[in-house]
Symmetry: C2
Subunit: 337 residues, 2 copies
């Protein structure tokens, strides 16, 4: 059972931290050209992977990442009691169609690019709370399905701006279990929706940075952990522009979150992939977690990380209606304990 | 702490069932003309409620229903530790923008019209699991925001078919608390995604009926409760066509779920509102729960109900791509104990 979350507190402390017993990542060609090619389980040869549409490909990526995470431990879909997943597509269809094939009890989430952390924290609460023994948390994004839904047909060749982010083609899946071996999910901080009035949908990093800082600040205040507790504090996908905004905000609130503070949108690619400000999409923090980060924590190269996946919660409709961009960030602490 | 959910089981049994200490409903003009006008807290005079778009109205309905549920118990938004919500709009913007104003830790869900039950079961697990003392679960739908997103501009006057359902303009909010007085949420059955190959988006009831039957069957099998345990077993929004399919499927699986088995989509309107097969939308089961049902359970008119909110998980994009319609149903047992 979790410690009672005191009134006004955002952090869930898991009394018996669930084990991350397995994980898997599947990424697109561009992500496979970046610095982490050896860390991903599978790099797709093209953007369709034998499917008739990008949407079908994205759903297949999520489904296959989940099955791969299971198979690494010799598990079947029938060995999990709950699947918690979401994605960027309208009505989270990538997750819904994957859940149809996986055919276990399913909770659909929507947290935009914060979904990897959101799904992990819900999954961890279901395990630690005593409702499930083993839960799958997963998410995905696909560059081309996202572009045509959120922006413009890619064939149109709309000019990108320097603050633009590149939606990653990537899926990540994590299996959490009561007991076992592997890194543990020790606590999680649930984010609030923060909106500082930013209206430029081509600069989501700046819209999300205040949410990331708010959640990280709450996490350190509520856990009482020193600023150098984590070997890595890493935001979801602020990318270069958003990361610089976050660094400035940290100075203002008097917090240095870690000597090693970075962002998945900055780390996913190197300078050769022409992604403007950096990566984004649910798959961005998902594949960095299920690629390099979990390998490093499990292998002892890092003791622990705080993954702070960030999401911009607008839609094309609300942008047309001149609304500003609300954002959220959820944090999960993953430790080799 | 919840009893351990045995492998392969879908039902969470809450050891200390959370109390439903407050609830509120806000509905549109058409819903206010139906048989339950005295049960709703607020009936809107028109579909805009002073806002500039239907989307903004829907978000306001969700936000105001939440605030009304809080104010009935003299609570402020700062008295809740978590908000769990979702809706039908792309990127669940009604919920996101409401969460921005309510400004507490937020988990966004997507379960289409199953969201009322999904949000209640997640909220109940967070309270019973020991992570929160008081949680808000809420959802909404708006006929005109849904029509233009899912179907066609209403100005176009597209002909409806007899199996069409009318998306309810309605929002419901429920406050769950550890201890206190009020009906309790004793257990919940998490649904699986079920797809029987139905492809007609104008007949969602038939697509959802197998999911409802699957979840209800699992609920009775796993809890061992007799078929007449509940005073009412009520599906979310199968409407008339879907309800008749469900009744047929129950005969095939040899289950009579209750002498009083009905559907929120059938009950919400009477014969005068020209809604074809009946109601649908997240708000349909939400306003029936927070209107008549909770009043009847709290007042002793009914001992208990099993609310089985049902969702069709397709999107216009997947329909264009010739995918069939996956569906899900989540069940929550609400009892006067």
């Amino acid at each position: 059972m979790g410690a009672i979350n005191k009134k006004g507190r955002q952090t869930f402390i898991f009394a018996d931290p669930p084990c991350i017993i397995s994980w898997a990542s599947i990424v697109g060609p561009k992500e496979g050209e970046g610095p982490w090619s050896d860390d991903f389980d599978q790099i797709l040869p093209d953007y369709l992977w034998g499917e008739a549409s990008w949407e079908k490909t994205e759903s297949k990526m999520l489904r296959e990442a989940a099955k791969l995470a299971l198979s690494k431990q010799g598990l079947q879909t029938s060995d999990i009691e709950l699947m918690v997943a979401g994605d960027l597509l309208n009505q989270i269809t990538s997750s819904n169609y994957a859940a149809r094939e996986i055919a276990v009890p399913f909770l659909g989430l929507y947290g935009a690019c914060s979904t990897m952390a959101e799904s992990l924290l819900v999954a961890a609460a279901m395990v630690d709370g005593g409702y499930c023994e083993r839960v799958l948390a997963a998410t995905s994004s696909h560059h081309y399905s996202a572009e045509r839904q959120y922006r413009a047909p890619v064939e149109q060749g709309v000019q990108r701006v320097p603050s633009s982010q590149w939606t990653a083609t990537a899926a990540g899946a994590v299996i959490l279990q009561k007991g076992g071996s592997g890194p543990r999910l020790s606590c999680a901080t649930v984010g609030k929706v923060i909106d500082m009035g930013q209206t430029d949908a081509a600069n989501m990093g700046a819209a999300m940075a205040p949410a990331a800082v708010d959640t990280i600040k709450a996490h350190f205040q509520e856990t009482g952990r020193p600023h150098d507790y984590y070997d890595l504090v890493v935001t979801g996908d602020l990318a270069a522009v958003g990361l610089s905004v976050a660094r400035e905000l940290f100075v203002r609130v008097g917090l240095v979150p870690s000597p090693n503070f970075s962002d998945c949108g900055v780390l996913l690619y190197d300078g050769l992939q022409d992604v403007d400000s950096g990566g984004s999409g649910c798959g961005c923090s998902a594949c960095m977690l299920t690629g390099p980060f979990l390998r490093k924590v499990a292998g002892g190269e890092m003791r622990n990380i705080l993954l702070v996946s960030t999401g911009a919660l607008m839609s094309p409709t609300t942008t047309f209606q001149k609304e500003s961009i609300p954002a959220i960030a959820h944090a999960v602490a993953i430790e080799n304990i």
